[in-house]
């Protein structure tokens, strides 16, 4: 019964959480966004005391049920392990093994040190929620969107507006590789030994393990009934039941309840610690996760372009479409972080790189960074779209408090950067045409068009930027006709201001 409840909750939980990463319409999040908020590491980063206390109390009461029904990566491994167990004579393929505590502590220590020292990318690599997020966002979401586009194509044929096309693009090759590597490693581990990752690598598992030792309810083996058949040990995906000595390592038990149903003698029951039995104790360490200032590593992407400046071709015949060259990303001295992230440091410290905002961004602005220091954390660029005034999706979804919730009205006054005009690229000067597309689309009216020659009012009009009013949304950069490099681009601000 308990097992059934666990399984039902787990399936619901992973399905809904996965949908959060797949949904690009921003509708699901309103209902199920809390599933991301209750993830352990994001809650710690967001200093979400209610969630942290709630999770600790939950663990203290019922053991590591978090790992079985809330953590998407844990459930994902259970699914892999379950499939593996469907093979002939593989269902009982596990066996008890002592905890490799030194390795667990090393990983936990590394995780804390990495977070504190500014290697968020490393910390993110072993954070279960972020690891799952990357897989969902970079491996599953494209498939989901292809499916959607297929439906959109059919809808178009039927003249229905039920589905619309979405853009699918490779947001970051390194992160895709990381996601694939994570998937492969986890699949191998789960296929062979169940919860190896959770009980050896996962920092959340280790932290919760400290507490679950003292949990109120836990599975207990009745030594009188036990026949030492080892069936429970062989069924335990956490390899934590020592049936030889009728003991269970509660620091690794994820309260999956599988053993309860497996025992033919009904010797294992889930019950309060005060009724009977006692688990062996181990030493504890502090689970503090301090946020320390991080140093800045230099890593700039240098982009070079060929210098063939050509005039737009003379119109000779009717019809046809001019070829549009793709825009390239300019090298920004300071990276752009989304409105609501306060400043680059706050963002770097709190972001666990789960990719939820990257999946949610409807304007193709957010993508994971390839920069070593901020590796996998999202950054903004405007070559595919710009940060539209009505959109606050990323701030709505962030579970880690890296992007704090803002309203569109607040957003219109948050300056995340400022626009810079590059005369050499401006079509007003290169093509000799009137333009002003940047000024026309500036949501804050920060761009004005002035004559190129001050004394000559009829000279070509060039844009000037009032950096006090510019909020850095990138409408100008995205809609600039100059290609591949825009004649106006946004330079980031380390600290966001309110104008």
């Amino acid at each position: 019964m308990l097992r059934k409840i666990r399984r039902t909750l787990a399936v619901l939980s992973i399905a809904l959480l996965t949908l959060l990463f797949l949904d690009f319409t921003g509708t699901l999040h309103v209902w199920f966004g809390w599933l991301a908020d209750i993830q352990f590491v994001p809650a710690v980063l967001a200093l979400n005391a209610a969630v942290i206390v709630g999770l600790l109390v939950l663990t203290l009461l019922f053991g590591r049920v978090y790992c079985s029904v809330i953590c998407p990566l844990g459930i994902f491994q259970d699914i892999i392990s379950y499939v593996s167990g469907l093979r002939r004579r593989k269902r009982h393929r596990f066996s008890y093994s002592p905890a490799i505590n030194w390795l667990r502590y090393i990983f936990l220590a590394l995780f804390i040190v990495a977070l504190a020292a500014g290697f968020a990318s490393f910390a993110s690599l072993i954070d279960p929620y972020a690891a799952y997020g990357r897989m969902a966002s970079h491996l599953l979401a494209p498939v989901y969107r292809w499916g959607n586009n297929l439906l959109a194509g059919m809808a178009e044929k039927l003249d229905s507006y039920a589905f619309y096309n979405t853009e699918i693009w490779l947001k970051s090759l390194p992160v895709l590789i990381v996601a694939i590597a994570t998937l492969v490693v986890l699949c191998v581990l789960a296929w062979r030994n169940g919860r190896t990752y959770c009980n050896t690598v996962c920092p959340v598992g280790t932290v919760l393990g400290f507490i679950s030792r003292y949990s109120l309810f836990r599975p207990v083996i009745d030594t009188e009934k036990c026949t030492h058949c080892h069936l429970c040990s062989r069924t335990c995906k956490a390899s934590c039941i020592d049936s030889e000595h009728t003991q269970i390592d509660y620091s690794r038990c994820v309260a999956c309840m599988d053993c309860l149903d497996t025992c033919r003698q009904k010797a294992i029951t889930y019950r309060s610690r005060f009724r009977m039995g006692k688990a062996h104790a181990t030493e504890t360490t502090s689970a503090a996760q301090p946020d320390k200032e991080r140093r800045r590593f230099l890593s700039t992407t240098v982009l070079l372009a060929t210098s063939a400046v050509l005039k737009a071709q003379e119109k000779k015949v009717d019809g046809g479409l001019a070829v549009i060259e793709d825009k390239k990303i300019p090298a920004r001295a300071t990276r752009l972080t989304p409105p609501g992230s306060l400043d680059t440091q706050h963002f770097a410290q709190h972001c666990i790189a789960c990719q939820l905002c990257v999946s949610a961004c409807p304007n193709q602005v957010l993508r994971p960074s390839s920069d070593l220091r901020t590796f996998m954390q999202p950054e903004m660029s405007y070559e595919r779209g710009y940060c539209r005034p009505e959109c606050t999706e990323c701030s709505k979804v962030c579970p880690a408090g890296a992007i704090l919730p803002i309203t569109p009205a607040e957003k219109s006054a948050i300056q995340i950067g400022h626009a810079v005009w590059i005369a050499n690229n401006c079509v007003v000067l290169t093509d000799g045409v009137a333009c002003g597309n940047c000024a026309r689309h500036c949501p804050t009216g920060a761009i004005s068009m002035l004559p190129y020659v001050a004394e000559d009012a009829s000279s070509p009009k060039i844009p000037v930027v009032n950096t006090e009013r510019c909020i850095g949304c990138g409408a100008c950069e995205n809609l600039c006709p100059a290609r591949p490099f825009s004649a106006i681009y946004v330079e980031g601000h380390e600290v966001h201001r309110t104008i």
């Binding site: 178009e156 507006y161 619309y164 096309n165 982009l303 070079l304 372009a305 060929t306 210098s307 063939a308 400046v309 050509l310 005039k311 737009a312 071709q313 003379e314 119109k315 000779k316 015949v317 009717d318 019809g319 046809g320 479409l321 001019a322 070829v323 549009i324 060259e325 390239k328 300019p330 090298a331 539209r388 005034p389 009505e390 810079v420 590059i422 050499n424 690229n425 079509v427 290169t430 093509d431 045409v433 009137a434 333009c435 002003g436 597309n437 026309r440 689309h441 809609l479 006709p481 100059a482 290609r483 591949p484 490099f485 004649a487 681009y489």
Partner: protein, 461 residues
């Protein structure tokens, strides 16, 4: 920031003609259907008579079919290398064969149509039929470069591309845009008009005329040249809306036609359907027309209108699809002229139509290619479509606001790729002078863009 800038947005020569290999093999035989003695309603409605076409006789005695084939909208298909569209020559051949088999004998093209490949494609299709039974019209389309050498080269190239040694109807293309100045630069100062008169005398041109879009002063002055040139025909835009309600700076067709009648010059009609806008009409206009003649297509009203005027030599239609060709053939096989009541009815219809704030774009593609990659006609057509469907919300309080908003925005992305939408129009204005309907294209695009922004941001009143 890299300041290098590669502004390579040039159009490639991507349009080619495919299916040429089959050019000489598909000579089909039509006819013998559509005789009397129909058995079912369906047969009666779909029958396309092969031998009932109405013909008009020109000044020089040409017996011209009332339906003329406009070669500006030949069917295209995506190129194999995805670099654009290519003309589907097999389909062109099929359409041309069918048209000729049903009496159509006038074909109107230009060196600039279909990205400059229309003459070649039309020539290939027509080469497979006896030359003496056809009337081929093409034009001196020297808008961009009106030097004598370029104009002469363009003239000679038409003979090569069409594979002919004489041209039945030759036109000074789109007279009127740019005023008399432009007319003089294109045809007088470079001596082209005199040259063309000589060519007519030699017989390489059988009939000389001009096509007109623009202001009334130019029309009057160029028409007055008749005493010297002796225009054999003039091509004008005429339909039941433009008859008395011409858009923008254009001249009412009633006036243009009247002037031609006074001088006894036959009129060739273009835009009888306003680029399809008189076929794809708002719902209640459609019902209004169907109420009168339930069996007839909406388009047939426009063709009957144009054909009902006796000084009209032929009515051009750029038919991309076989169904359109068949429908038009039916309308003119034979023509049932409008009664006086029907003319009044159509005038009332026109008055209802102009209440719809559509943009008078006929998708002629003269504005294209936009050097900055904007797909101008698609943007305007989507807007017009939504106007006709009532999907242009004026306020967020509108009853169907959410539905209309979604229809507009989702449909917009479907009709026009994001990079070719109106928000990328920089307003350089290179398109506007080419528009025969004198639409202020940048102004309309910016207006549409503003509307789209209001929809996206939810800032409509």
């Amino acid at each position: 920031m890299s300041e290098e800038h590669n502004k390579d947005m040039n159009r490639r020569d991507f349009l080619k003609i495919v299916g040429i290999s089959a050019a000489t093999s598909t000579s089909l035989f039509y006819g013998c259907n559509g005789k009397n003695g129909n058995t079912t309603d369906a047969a009666a409605q779909t029958a396309v008579p092969a031998d009932k076409m109405t013909f008009r006789t020109s000044k020089r005695g040409d017996r011209v079919s009332l339906l003329g084939y406009g070669c500006m909208r030949w069917p295209t298909m995506p190129a194999a290398d995805a670099s654009g569209n290519v003309i589907d020559q097999d389909k062109v051949n099929r359409l041309v064969d069918y048209a000729i088999a049903h009496g159509v004998n006038y074909f109107d093209t230009s060196p600039v149509y279909v990205q400059g490949f229309s003459e070649k494609s039309t020539g290939l299709a027509l080469k497979r039929h006896p030359r003496e039974k056809l009337f081929i019209a093409t034009k001196l389309s020297n808008f961009q470069n009106s030097t004598r050498s370029n104009s002469m080269a363009m003239y000679e190239q038409s003979f090569k591309d069409l594979q002919v040694d004489y041209i039945d109807y030759y036109l000074l293309h789109s007279v009127g845009n740019g005023g008399m100045e432009t007319f003089r630069a294109r045809y007088i100062d470079n001596g082209m008009l005199d040259f063309l008169l000589e060519e007519r005398a030699k017989g390489r041109i059988r009939n000389l005329g001009f096509s007109f879009h623009g202001t009334v002063d130019v029309f009057d002055q160029v028409l007055a040249l008749d005493d010297y040139v002796h225009w054999d025909f003039v091509q004008i835009q005429m339909n039941y809306v433009d008859w008395r309600h011409a858009s923008g700076r254009n001249v009412n067709a009633e006036y243009l036609y009247g002037e031609l009648v006074k001088r006894g010059i036959p009129a060739v009609i273009m835009e009888p359907l306003l680029g399809g806008r008189l076929s794809n009409v708002p719902e209640h206009i459609m019902l209004r027309l169907k109420q009168q003649r339930p069996q007839d297509s909406v388009a047939s009203w426009a063709f009957r209108f144009a054909g009902s005027y006796p000084n009209v030599l032929t009515v051009l239609s750029g038919m991309t699809y076989m169904e359109h060709l068949q429908d038009n053939i039916r309308t003119y096989s034979p023509l049932q002229p409008l009664t006086d009541e029907e003319k009044i009815f159509l005038e009332e219809t026109a008055q209802l139509m102009i209440k719809y704030p559509t943009i008078p774009c006929n998708e002629c593609q003269y504005c294209m290619p936009c050097p900055y990659g904007i797909d101008i006609p698609s943007i305007l057509v989507h807007y017009n479509k939504c106007v006709n469907e009532g999907s242009i919300p004026r306020s967020r309080q509108d009853e169907n606001y959410r539905k209309a908003r979604r229809a507009y925005l989702v449909g917009y992305d479907r009709s026009v790729p994001k990079l070719r939408q109106a928000n990328h129009c920089i307003g350089c204005g290179q398109c506007s002078p080419h528009c025969p309907q004198s639409i202020d294209i940048p102004k309309e695009l910016h207006r549409i863009d503003h509307f789209v922004e209001q929809l996206k941001q939810g800032t409509l009143p």
